[in-house]
């Protein structure tokens, strides 16, 4: 698709030629993830996580469809039907644990995918649309995961739904009508459960659709790479298949081993004990905690504790949504012409501070809102916003970057950096003839 030297699809078998004239689907696959898609030859293992996120979505859709055959979206029966799945449905425990932990798996690989993009400047021109479509997928994932967590109708499901929809209540004037409209009532109830179930079934397919756009947009300029240098010659690329299909196959194996350990041996490690208590609108849990993948944003929400012109709660809601929405502007906030963090020594330092910062935010978000953790999350929130909105714009103007290699193949040939080279090429020496 993207480069003139991309291998053209040439069906050999007469049937495939017949098909190609009528429905060129194999041609599409060949160009998208086959030998017809030239990919920079120097991608490291951080480029595996896009495919892994796609794998996670497939796992979620397959397990979810089967779970939906046994689940009953009713306030009276939802919790019991979940237990019915766990006890009486053949291998139902496997489906449910895989689906619940699969959501965590999806977020782990997606966060790694996002941070890879942040480090290597994958959001920069000409890939702004790829980045923004990715953020749309991320937002859809969060909505889907949130609504899915409500479905078992445990204590944390119910109170999570109440707290999260309550965030919209912070909006002046229209907030409460919006909250009532979202819930279909004044508190989470039957109407909430059925609409969340309906949307939870719908949104993954919307995600799949946006993923198609995401990949389409990616294939126009082609994949980025660890040097951030544009592809110039055929020597810079290898065909996606077999090179990256083989590499992704190995990556998928490693990732599935990690997921297996979680699902079969620690299935409730990432969950909350309170969600094994049926929802009770009259009994508030001691601590309402979202799932771990929301913790950094939950910490930002709770970091605003003092009214300042606007109520503190509204500041928290604005900051929480703003913390993701600002990423849409990242390609224009960070105008440094150098993409890869490998060649931006100062950016690299701030990037790792950001990683630590988000981990600290996540840690604080999972704890009760007590001192000193509120103060720590306030400091971390300040850094989060400062990083994207103040440090990156200024840094991109003043930073002195390192010299870039002339081309991808040159950087590989000269063994520039171990991470910029395909496996086992860091110390490549000329073979003896």
């Amino acid at each position: 698709m993207s480069f003139p030297w991309a291998e053209e699809y040439r069906p050999k078998h007469p049937f495939m030629r017949w098909m190609d004239d009528r429905l060129p689907l194999p041609r599409l696959v060949h160009g998208a993830v086959g030998g017809g898609y030239p990919v920079p030859r120097n991608l490291n293992f951080f480029w595996n996580f896009g495919v892994l996120a796609g794998l996670a979505l497939m796992i979620q859709i397959v397990t979810g469809i089967v779970l939906a055959m046994h689940y009953i979206p009713s306030g009276d029966a939802a919790f019991a039907s979940t237990e019915h799945i766990m006890r009486d449905v053949n291998q139902g425990w496997f489906l449910r644990y895989l689906h619940a932990n699969g959501a965590s798996f999806f977020f782990v690989v997606t966060y790694l995918h996002i941070f890879r993009g942040l480090y290597y400047g994958s959001y920069k021109a000409p890939r702004e649309m790829v980045w923004m479509l990715g953020l749309v997928i991320f937002l859809l994932m969060m909505a889907t995961a949130f609504m899915g967590y409500v479905l078992p109708w445990g204590q944390m499901s119910f109170w999570g739904a109440k707290v999260i929809t309550g965030l919209f209540g912070a909006i002046p004037v229209v907030g409460e009508p919006i909250q009532t409209w979202l819930l279909g009532g004044f508190a989470p109830d039957q109407a909430t459960l059925t609409r969340f179930f309906s949307l939870h079934y719908l949104l993954p397919f919307v995600i799949a659709g946006v993923i198609i756009l995401h990949i389409w947009a990616l294939h126009i300029p082609g994949s980025s790479n660890p040097t951030g240098v544009d592809v110039k010659t055929p020597q810079d690329t290898v065909p996606f298949h077999p090179y990256y299909t083989a590499k992704d196959g190995f990556g998928a194996g490693v990732a599935l081993i990690a997921l297996t350990i979680l699902v079969f041996f620690f299935p409730n490690f990432l969950g909350h004990a309170d969600n094994y208590i049926p929802a009770n609108p009259l009994s508030t849990p001691a601590e309402i905690v979202p799932e771990w993948y929301f913790w950094p944003f939950y910490a930002i929400l709770r970091a605003f504790t003092v009214d300042f012109i606007l109520p503190a709660k509204l500041w928290g809601v604005l900051a929480m949504f703003g913390s993701i929405l600002l990423l849409f502007f990242l390609p224009w906030l960070d105008k440094s012409p150098v993409r890869s963090g490998n060649y931006r020594p100062k950016f690299r330092i701030f990037f790792w501070i950001l990683v630590a910062d988000v981990i600290v935010l996540g840690y604080c978000g999972g704890l009760p809102a007590a001192e000193p953790f509120v103060m720590i999350s306030q400091i971390a929130t300040i850094y989060y916003f400062a990083h994207f909105l103040i440090i990156l714009p200024i840094l991109s103007m003043v930073e002195k970057t390192l010299p870039l290699p002339n081309s991808i193949s040159e950087s590989v040939l000269h063994g520039e950096k171990a991470e910029a080279a395909p496996i086992d090429l860091g110390d490549a020496t000329p073979a003896k003839a």
């Binding site: 030859r41 083989a246 081993i257 041996f265 224009w332 590989v412 490549a428």
Partner: protein
């Protein structure tokens, strides 16, 4: 322009967050938070080991049967097992006849209707029935228990932090509030002493629990297998039983996990070898100056092929 706007918005959020931080620090300095009495006196579950711990753990059938006996003779008076059916007791090693007998002789009958008149009635339990709730409804349960609601025990091990060790610790953890001293040797403040109908138990999150001590003396239950029924033994046995009620598929999960891991390890090794083979076979040599895909070498190779008369 985006950058200038970004910096302004950024300064806004940073400023408001810093304002919150300032007030937080002032409040922290003026009045440092002190630990609550619950925090000072709450004890974490004792560490104990169960047969189902670890990735290869499995249930001890004898222990489950003993635990079931404790449930039947002690807990069942107040706590139901809503998600467990009598037929599930097969998993504990009971024969079909034994399960039939257990269901038939269960002291609490199952709600039913009189087939003649249609009036509400009760009947004896069948193996297909779930363990009946000892109370007709929540109001009846609260009325009989000083307004406390005995929770259903089917999922209790998974519904409480600390799992089975927590349950076992709690069951034997009742203490005399007046004479109790915590790890620092402090006595429980008078206002935290249990009120009417409450019992002091440091393993319980808010220290005072409405459940009267259920396991009061050694030998409260006479085990059929001759195991001495110490308080600790009974508490651990019933906790193991409740782990089974919460996670009846634990053993098949562990077994399936091992086989899945073995399969994936094998598949991943194969995938790794394929990956190595593909990259070392072509691309890795190609990226070296002497590589096979190097244009010069390709030309040489073509030339060599032509000379040797090899097609393709």
């Amino acid at each position: 322009m985006v950058r200038i706007l970004g910096i302004l918005v950024g300064l806004g959020f940073v400023g408001v967050a810093a304002w919150s931080l300032l007030w937080g620090v002032i409040a922290y300095v003026q009045e440092p938070p002190h630990e609550t009495v619950e925090h000072e006196f709450h004890k974490h579950p004792d560490s104990m080991s169960f047969s189902f711990d670890g990735p290869l753990g499995s249930f001890d059938r004898q222990q489950l049967q003993r635990g079931f006996q404790v449930y039947k003779e002690v807990c069942a008076a107040c706590h139901g097992l809503n998600f467990v059916a009598f037929r599930n007791l097969h998993d504990l090693g009971y024969t079909e006849a034994e399960v039939d007998a257990i269901a038939d002789q269960w002291p609490i009958q199952v709600p039913s209707i009189n087939p003649e008149t249609g009036e509400t009635a009760t009947r004896k339990a069948l193996p297909a029935d779930r363990f009946p709730n000892p109370y007709a409804n929540e109001t009846a349960a609260r009325a009989a228990n000083n307004n406390a609601l005995p929770p259903d025990l089917s999922l209790i091990v998974k519904a409480r932090h600390g799992g089975a060790p927590y349950i076992a610790s709690l069951l034997t953890g009742y203490q005399d509030a007046a004479s109790y001293r915590n790890a620092h040797g402090d006595a429980l403040p008078a206002e935290n002493r249990p009120g009417q109908g409450l019992y002091f138990n440091p393993y319980f999150a808010n220290l005072n629990i409405a459940m009267p001590p259920p396991i009061t003396a050694d030998g409260q239950v006479t085990y059929a297998d001759g195991t001495p029924a110490t308080r600790q033994q009974m508490a651990q046995d019933v906790s193991a039983f409740l782990m089974w009620t919460a996670e009846p598929n634990l053993e098949s999960r562990h077994k399936a996990g091992i086989w899945t891991l073995l399969f994936l390890l094998f598949a991943t090794v194969i995938a790794y070898m394929a990956y190595q083979n593909i990259w070392h076979g072509g691309a890795s040599r190609a990226v070296r100056r002497t590589g096979a895909l190097d244009p010069e070498n390709q030309a040489k190779s073509e030339h060599a092929k032509d000379e040797a008369g090899i097609a393709g």
